[in-house]
């Protein structure tokens, strides 16, 4: 066991997989010599050399297109999109090409690739550098979608993503980069599609992802003070989605609250809520409450951004509404 930041866990995860499989290559803007703009790829160029760690021009379409073409022909590329907001400049390659290639070719094409990206707000980058766009990826058939909340999961889930034969979008939550956690020694490889129950509870199921997990845990702690026992589920992966764990928990608690950094409309919280409303309706003893940011872009100023993000207080309030 060693304590490690989420940021360092990213580099460790990539190093683990590059060492494990020589067909793994890393490509992106400033990922090499600079060690990444978030310093999440430090040391990889030195370790694996410029053949396998490639600094690129500012050409997101070219980067992801190269990853796709390379994945078709024998490599396992890991491509970085520096901020997840930049998916918007290369969404065609992700949503129209990568996601659909296997299907359209009737299974001829395999795309074992990972696209890593820094996702989410809380660090005062403003509206074009703070979005949580994991739901964009979730909505596109053919993509797998992963978003770890701890350094340990960064490694385990990243390894699973790299070894997966399908394209995986790997969301690193930027507000978590400096956070620390224990990581066991040795190779770590998880399975995609397993949620983790971070806290057991009996009164309400709180489903969260990435940076909202610690916040949901804080809310659960606060709720415990007032006698409410909240179960907190960390989804870890949106596709595959661990409906079994969610439904099992709701069957016991009768109440569901989702907590996401996304704006109000059409986020994964809506998907989870509507699955439960379809499959577990009669388990419910109260309304399904979604805690999100308002349906607005994220503001830059600290005071405003803090007010926009789901806070512990808003999660607590959401739980109260679900129980009312």
């Amino acid at each position: 066991m060693a304590e490690m930041t989420y940021r360092d866990a990213v580099a460790a995860a990539i190093a683990q997989e590059m060492a494990h499989d020589p067909s793994v290559v890393l490509i992106g803007e400033d990922v090499g010599a600079a060690g990444g703009v978030f310093k999440a790829t430090v040391g990889l160029l030195e370790k694996f050399g410029p053949n396998r760690v490639v600094d690129t021009p500012i050409s997101e379409q070219a980067i992801l297109g190269a990853a796709m073409g390379a994945a078709m022909t024998g490599l396992r590329p890991v491509a970085e999109v520096m901020f997840s907001d930049f998916f918007a400049v290369c969404w065609d390659i992700v949503a129209n090409e990568i996601a659909k290639a296997r299907y359209m070719t009737n299974g001829q094409v395999s795309l074992p690739l990972v696209i890593r990206t820094a996702n989410g707000g809380g660090v005062r980058f403003g509206a074009q550098h703070s979005q949580s766009v994991e739901s964009w990826a979730m909505s596109i058939p053919g993509l797998k979608v992963v978003a770890p909340s701890t350094p340990r999961d960064v490694i385990g889930l990243f390894a699973a993503a790299v070894r997966d034969p399908d394209p995986v979008i790997f969301f690193e939550q930027k507000s978590l980069y400096p956070t620390k956690g224990e990581v066991e020694e040795g190779e770590l490889v998880d399975e995609l599609g397993r949620a983790s129950t971070r806290r057991q509870g009996t009164d309400v199921t709180v489903v969260a992802l990435a940076a909202m997990v610690p916040r949901a845990l804080d809310a659960a702690e606060a709720l415990a003070q007032e006698g409410v026992s909240a179960e907190v589920i960390d989804l870890r992966s949106l596709v595959p989605l661990d409906v079994t764990t969610i439904a099992g928990s709701v069957a016991r608690t009768g109440h569901l609250v989702t907590v996401e950094e996304n704006p109000r409309l059409c986020g994964w919280g809506a998907e989870v809520a509507s699955i439960v409303a379809e499959e577990c309706l009669f388990d419910l003893d109260g309304p399904i409450v979604r805690v999100t940011t308002p349906h607005a872009p994220l503001p830059a100023a600290d005071a405003l951004e803090d007010a926009a993000m789901p806070s512990v207080a808003r999660i607590v309030e959401g739980v109260r509404r679900s129980l009312a």
């Binding site: 400033d30 703009v37 907001d85 005062r124 980058f125 074009q128 308002p294 349906h295 830059a300 405003l304």
Partner: protein, 427 residues
């Protein structure tokens, strides 16, 4: 109606060129700034004015203040015939003036004031960052001031500016008050956007500073839109769009340049080539040596590289380019060589850059270089010192104003998503 049916309808006589243009309304609140009395280029529309030499550009006088509309205002004015697709005249034939030009003394003093203001402002912003008062990210243009100042001086008040996240200087060049910019960096209620945009999105429509954009490349396409609109409205406004060397490798750059050229839009694209993207040297990821100029031919434009650290040269080139573009001869792409003194963004010390590269560029710092040249050509150093003192005082006042401002009202979180002022998406 600025586009009358009879002129644009199928029955309308084609080929009526050079229809006299009504003077456009100046946008509200936009007086001329001191130091903008540069040459006023001909606003005559020449939809087919290709291959025109710069010398042939006629100068017309009256609309010195031909400010266009700020966002959303609908303008009066006859519309020129915009060339149909492909009739566009590219800016072939223009070349930058030789030498550094001979701007009036008054302009040069203004250039100095502008650059010194930018320098003092950004140094203070950096200090405030170190103090923990500038909380978000920010990208300084220290060392790149001559470009913002030179173009800023050459532009008319009605012209449009589009800049990147490295846009403080360009805001200042359009006359946006320091306190409003600093307030935005500090996330205060007095900020230009009350803290909602942050340092990367500085916008002041009132000053025709049409925005700072944080996604590489996008704003080149948006700048085209402002230019298209100006052309259709016949307002004589020119759009100037600033961006970095790294931006030349993204798709939007290519689309925007071709588009501007095809429709002969009145826009000047200014590539501030500071040799670096964030932490990667542009040279290492670009197929050509001059990232903008070596691409100009791909858009039918002349290759232009200028010394971006020489305010006189920038001003001369900017004046000539604006005049040319305003004449209807189509867009231009100008690559200005420069260097950022600091890192890419706030905390980055920029240590990845070779020592000698940095020192050679520091030796070409545009501010002392210009000051020395001014003094050499007879300007009293005491006068420049007085300007510096003025500026220091102004920066100090601006910071005080910001410190006195509270954080923005949290109600703003859901304000102005839609035009009704709110964020309501349902009924």
């Amino acid at each position: 109606m600025f586009l009358s049916r009879s002129r644009s309808g199928a029955e309308a006589p084609r080929g009526e060129k050079g229809v006299s243009r009504q003077a456009a309304e100046a946008p509200p609140g936009q007086g001329p700034r001191p130091g903008t009395e540069g040459p006023t280029g001909g606003a005559d529309e020449r939809a087919e004015g290709r291959e025109m030499s710069a010398g042939a550009t006629s100068s017309v006088g009256p609309e010195r203040d031909s400010g266009g509309p700020p966002g959303g205002t609908q303008l009066q004015g006859a519309a020129p015939d915009v060339p149909a697709a492909g009739q566009g005249a590219a800016g072939r034939g223009w070349s930058p003036p030789a030498g550094t030009g001979t701007a009036p003394a008054q302009v040069r003093i203004s250039l100095y004031r502008q650059m010194a203001t930018m320098r003092a402002f950004e140094k203070r912003a950096y200090d405030l960052f170190l103090e923990g008062l500038v909380k978000g990210t920010s990208h300084l243009g220290l060392g790149q001031e001559a470009i913002a100042a030179g173009f800023g001086e050459a532009m008319r008040p009605g012209d449009y500016t589009f800049a990147t996240y490295r846009g403080h200087n360009h805001c200042l060049a359009r006359g946006v008050p320091m306190a409003r910019i600093m307030g935005e960096l500090m996330g205060r209620s007095n900020g230009l956007m009350a803290g909602k945009g942050g340092s990367m999105h500085l916008t002041s429509v009132e000053h025709n500073m049409m925005g700072s954009y944080a996604i590489v490349g996008a704003h080149l396409t948006i700048a085209n839109g402002a230019a298209w609109s100006a052309k259709l409205r016949g307002s004589g406004q020119v759009t100037v769009c600033f961006f970095g060397d790294g931006t030349t490798n993204i798709g939007a750059f290519h689309e925007a340049l071709n588009f501007a050229s095809v429709y002969s839009l009145p826009v000047v694209f200014v590539c501030e080539n500071n040799l670096w993207m964030e932490y990667t040297p542009i040279q290492s990821v670009t197929a050509v040596a001059r990232p903008a100029a070596d691409r100009a031919g791909a858009y039918g434009l002349p290759p232009v590289v200028i010394d971006g650290n020489d305010a006189d040269a920038v001003y001369a080139v900017a004046s000539s380019a604006l005049e040319w573009v305003r004449s209807g001869a189509g867009p231009l792409l100008i690559e200005a060589l420069t260097y950022r003194h600091g890192g890419h963004s706030r905390a980055d010390p920029g240590k990845y850059r070779p020592e000698d590269e940095l020192s050679s560029w520091l030796a070409r710092d545009p501010l002392p270089r210009f000051r020395a040249r001014l003094v050499e050509s007879g300007t009293d150093p005491a006068m420049l010192d007085a300007i510096d003192l003025d500026i220091d005082a102004a920066v100090a006042r601006a910071v005080e104003e910001c410190r006195a401002s509270g954080p923005p009202d949290t109600n703003l979180v859901t304000a102005d998503v839609f035009a009704d002022g709110g964020a309501t998406w349902r009924r």
